[in-house]
Symmetry: D2
Subunit: 233 residues, 4 copies
């Protein structure tokens, strides 16, 4: 297969699908990784040369297995988009030890494990793109993000460490901080009175990911935030 | 004239020219503002529908005059790129009161004055783009930037205040932090032993400015940094 | 006079007076600088060895004159507290060029000018303390701080540049970011329904300034923020 | 026992011991927590009413057990200092999954677990102090801190979330960022040519922790950094 391979970890109907579509439009064969494959199997049929892989991003063995299959079936990814991320809401008293660990596992540990799967081939090739999808919580803790924010902060710090060590090898590591409510069926339901303008459209965010992947290497960006023009910040 | 008008304040042979060329390539009629017009007059002949204007960016009266002419001759700018910026190097003891003020005037005061020239029409149209070109010093002070860093920090803070008040009106205010040595005849001369890879190419930085100007408004970026892949940071 | 001299620039009934009292309690002879001397003259009588000086902090000539007098009458200041600071509220459209400049002059330019008056003697002595009093706006711009935030950001950046060049000479430059509504007659009047706990007490902020001035030099702080325990941030 | 109880998690010969001594000097009965008790048992004999507890800060069950004993034997801690922290050095390729997790466990997870042990009683009392000891890596990732920096960033973010939810209940959560090489036998050995001035003295850092614990609540600090006056930053 001569198409470049883009692996997207964490593909649901929102940002993950939009990222997959955007990179497929750019000519990539996209590997779609998600815990369950019911959605990704359908999406894989829509996108030329895409394939769905079951992968629990919180589990490094599952990541190793999925990337082993991708390498065997599609080839070495030249682009990795790490979009897996979740976390319960709650303050330090209401979230539990398990929540705290689970958030870290999927947002930070999985990002570390997935990156290690793709770095050797990227380094050998002298090029590659690794983009982490962050959130407002990547930059600061809030009362209700006692589990989520530390996980996202760890992810951001990892991205920065990786950027500093991998950029000189031609691997563009970057972080997109989504400072917005994403336009999803469930967010629309939760906020039925907000206008269209209130929401970040996944396709618009994905356009910036595509831009980052194309930046000429004399002027790379590490961290960009994206938010709707109406967002208060 | 039906082309959109892009005003670039601070056009020399490096970033300013690259920005002008990039926006001209995108179909804009570019107004080229610089203190002296010897370079910009020549550049104006290269670019379709471009015009050169004499403007001292440190002087609000000069800015008002130049923008008055632009509006009369070219129409209301829909894009403003504020690239004027300079400052002597030196610590708090070696720079003087005059240096401290001069740096602020060209980096911050001029940015404020120029923005005020374009905002009313942008607001009436419900759209526009204002991009400030910052530097490493926009984010932090160093021993040798006692005059320059406060000026750039003021510019960044102004950009943030403007973004928060103008984004909801459809005006995309953004800041590009150049964390690099720019590839210019004078920097090459100063650092003859650095390889090509060491320098940021103005054309590559300008590509990110063009991207910012195109971002869909559900996912705008405010601040991005650009640096060469080999830069230490 | 064998007491150490502490110069406080910007002495009104709130933070300035509290800072003056706090350093007087620590045994300093305090020079009280303010545009008008009606309040500072009375305060000078309360504090042992204190003196009032007329000084317009936005005017470098006035600063030079006041510090010339201080040096002649009291001796070289070993501590400088720069508390002068003000700015009109308004966004980029509602504040004018004059507001923008005035805010910078009193918050940043005056800080630079005053620092330069005390640095030579501190450097010769191999010790000294310079503390700038910042605000929330030192760290970020808001819609309504188009004039004030750039001025405070410039001040913060200057403080950082100075810290990096002067710390190695034994001069402890630091910044206190007040992220609060200060307890003053005029703020109480404006917010009559807020409880006591809502306000930052100047005396409590001043206690942290005193602490900074005492920190042992193997563990100096550059920037600290202070806010009431009930503040939302 | 009527003395206030201060629990210090992570007591070795450097910062931990200095923090314990500083709070003992302030009149606290100090609980000394460390994995091994050989050093803490000796230290406990030096300090009035101090006790040593075996505790693996990376293990929430061990933390729960130690704090259960502290509550039973000494009473509810009114101050918690979380000083446990370590991590191997290495970039994303050289550190392993186990290193990445181990660093997070001791720096972030343990901080979360220990905090949860003391919060209920502090909240009931309407007062308390929780201080986390951070590092340069709390604020940014470097090439060689691919495991350590994400762990410290998570800790910092947790501290911020906790501060925002607990301050209004009278619990002062704060973070001390140590931006320095700490003066320890092993650092002196590693850097035999550095002068005394190069190192941060634990006792000096501890003085700032004591200050934070005393700050009046109308002007609390969340994050302070400490570094030697000669440090480059």
């Amino acid at each position: 297969m001569s198409k470049p391979v883009c692996a997207v970890v964490g593909v649901g109907e929102g940002n993950g699908a939009a990222l997959a579509r955007a990179f497929a439009n750019e000519g990539a064969a996209v590997a779609l990784l998600a815990r369950r494959t019911d959605f990704t199997s359908k999406l894989a049929k829509e996108l030329p040369d895409a394939r769905a892989y079951a992968c629990d991003a919180a589990d490094s063995a599952s990541i190793a297995e999925a990337f082993g299959l991708i390498r065997a079936e599609m080839g070495d990814p030249t682009t990795l988009i790490y979009n897996a991320g979740s976390g319960v809401w709650g303050d330090v008293e209401s979230v539990g030890l398990r929540d705290f660990e689970a958030a870290w596992r999927v947002n930070a540990y999985g990002a570390f494990a997935a990156s290690r799967e793709v770095i050797p081939a990227m380094k050998a090739a002298g090029r590659g793109v690794i983009i982490f999808i962050g959130a407002t919580a990547s930059r600061r803790g809030a009362p209700g993000t006692a589990a989520f924010a530390p996980a996202k902060a760890a992810q951001r710090s990892l991205a920065e460490s990786m950027a500093k060590s991998l950029w000189p090898h031609g691997i563009h590591v970057a972080l997109i901080v989504i400072d917005a409510v994403v336009d999803l069926p469930r967010t629309r339901e939760r906020m039925p009175n907000e206008p269209d303008d209130f929401f970040l459209k996944p396709v618009d965010m994905a356009a910036s990911a595509v831009w980052l992947a194309k930046q000429p290497r004399s002027a790379w960006s590490f961290e960009i935030e994206v938010r709707p023009f109406r967002e208060k910040w």
